[in-house]
Amino acid sequence: MGKEILTVVDLKKHFGTPFGTVRAVDGVSLSVREGETLGLVGESGSGKSTVAYVISGIYRPTEGSIRYREHEITKATKKRSRSLKKEIQIVFQDPGSSLNPRRSIKQILGGPIRVYSDRKTTQWSNVVAALLETVGLPIEYMHKYPRELGGGEKQMVAVARALATNPSFVVLDEPTSALDVSVQANVITSLMELQNEFELTYLFITHDLSLMRNMATSVAIMYLGKLCEVATTEDFFQSPLHPYTRMLLSSIPTVSDEEEALKPKTIQSSGEIPSPINIPPGCSFHLRCPEKEGICTRVDPIMIDMDETRSVRCHLYTESSRGSAERE
């Protein structure tokens, strides 16, 4: 395993609204090692996209720190150095709206090349052609407009745009949730091949756990702005610890009996994710948790390290904290 490339410590991002403060991200700590894919999974409203945006510098964090290699990057993109901006790129969810419909693919890909490379402008076309080749699209596509491409092809253009600056860290914010499975499969395999080729590190955001199983080296589960469980993919699917993780796994529709056997049987999904304006006291999951106890409604559990690669945030695994809280 490589060394840590990105470390996020106690990251918070709050948004002020007329109805109260939305605590979209409320104390997330995670680290990504070089060359791995960290999967960040959660339901809509869990704050996973906000984490992506904060890391890529679109939002400025309210609190906490982000370290990239040796640099402290806890500031908005405008204040990040150009060499740093080059390093961290993002691919958005919907290629239909993340690509400018009035620009040709050449112009779209030329943008980041012009800004970040020292090449003379005359050489654009070659670089654009090389980029298209890298992501497996025909070179003629540089003269097309986004509307002329299919969903999967558009997403590959968005990937090419992210790779144009030669980054080492790419944030993928649900890159395939707008695509059909047959197209998704192609985009995902291409992404994995590109990762090997360019030694990329991915932060992969999705709500699809089965996709995560095939893509990620480790997985972090997010619920209402906080992480519930972090583990390597193997451990995670073999023995999910957090009740929310088990609930998520049990809800996945499967296509074979072997898969069905991997789903936890003892738990059924219930309840809905509460509003991030009114986060319940204690453990934010206690309203839906089938294993909740008295303490869960009062004390928010802290992240406990089970072993080197695995940590979970649940009172079920903190005998000591349960004891001390009862005493209070």
Partner: protein, 326 residues
């Protein structure tokens, strides 16, 4: 399993556009028997929703037009020879749950008012007093496990969460005691945990009422857990149909096989490269099998000749030249 409730025979539907006629549906044959649950799977743009809309009688004509085909519902003819004879009584036999509950509900009326309207205009609605309609509405909300039905009755759609809105739509579809329920991607806009809850609930309700159901979805996983019989659709034609178990254990059509291989599995082991290419251009659809331009096993005959359904097992047919005898 007893009587045939709905029969769609050789249905062809097109959409008129500036450049000509989009030949979307091309020969759809579906049979739905009493209290059966069937699934219609396919990718975006394969005509699933057009099929549903035609059967439910909510297809907007024009721009759409029914080019050919018959649709029978409980012995009466809804569409004959491409001519829609859709009447109000038929509309009452079929109810539909739409993909996006936010768009399906009118934002300026309370969900209670919309539900009570639906009940008032149902087969039995005419004989009910306002109080009785209200009671039925409350009962319908209770059935779909919505907490505090009195309060929900007075809520506007914006005040409810996505899962609750879809429950309201399910309540509306089931409160009118229709014989056929068409659920068009009922959980696509919902999270997995909510999807699981909504489908479990819907399954329970249609089982109790013995409503025949057509589940339309792009998710093979959903269809596998939820239906008894599956139709696989591609480019406006049916490719394969079988009992659900037999389809997933023994998929025959290259498209079905490709689709199943493309799904990321919980067991890991990577995923395939998917199916190359795009859905056919409906203005000029391929003359033979509509899947042939993308098919890994395409033969010369596939480009020119349309395959006929071939029985490969009892209750399992496939439209593919690969299985043609001789």
């Amino acid at each position: 399993m007893t009587r045939e409730l709905l029969q769609v025979h050789n249905l062809r539907v097109g959409y008129k556009v500036f450049d000509g006629m989009l030949q979307v549906l091309d020969g759809i044959d579906i049979t739905l028997c009493g209290s059966e649950r069937i699934g219609l799977v396919g990718e975006t743009g394969c005509g699933k929703t057009t099929t549903a809309k035609t059967v439910a009688g909510v297809l907007s004509i024009p721009p759409a037009s029914i080019l050919a085909g018959d649709v029978y519902c409980g012995g009466s003819l809804l569409v004959k020879g491409g001519f829609s004879r859709f009447k109000r009584d038929f509309a009452r036999r079929v109810s539909m749950i739409y993909q996006d509950p936010t768009a399906a509900l009118n934002p300026v009326f309370t969900v209670g008012a919309q539900l009570m309207d639906a009940i008032k205009h149902s087969t039995f609605g005419g004989q009910l007093s306002a109080g009785a309609i209200r009671q039925r509405a409350l009962k319908a909300f209770e059935d779909v496990a919505l907490p505090d039905p009195e309060r929900i009755l007075k809520s506007y759609p914006v005040q409810l969460s996505g899962g609750m809105r879809q429950r309201v739509c399910i309540a509306m579809a089931l409160a009118v005691d229709s014989e056929i329920l068409i659920a068009d991607e009922p959980t696509t806009s919902l999270d997995v945990t909510i999807q699981d809850q909504v489908l479990r609930l819907l399954g329970q309700l249609v089982e109790d009422r013995e409503t025949a159901t057509i589940l339309i979805s792009h998710s093979l996983g959903l269809v596998r857990t939820w239906t008894e019989h599956v139709y696989v659709m591609y480019g406006g034609t049916l490719m394969e149909a079988a009992r659900t178990q037999s389809l997933f254990e023994n998929p025959k059509h290259p498209y079905t096989q490709g689709l199943i291989a493309a799904i990321p599995k919980l067991t890991g082991g990577g995923i395939s490269r998917g199916i190359p290419g795009r859905i056919p251009d409906y203005l000029n659809p391929p003359k033979g099998c509509r899947f042939s331009p993308r098919c890994p096993n395409a033969m010369p005959v596939c480009d020119s000749e349309r395959p006929a359904p071939i029985d490969v097992e009892p209750d399992h047919w496939v439209k593919c030249h690969l299985y043609q005898e001789g």
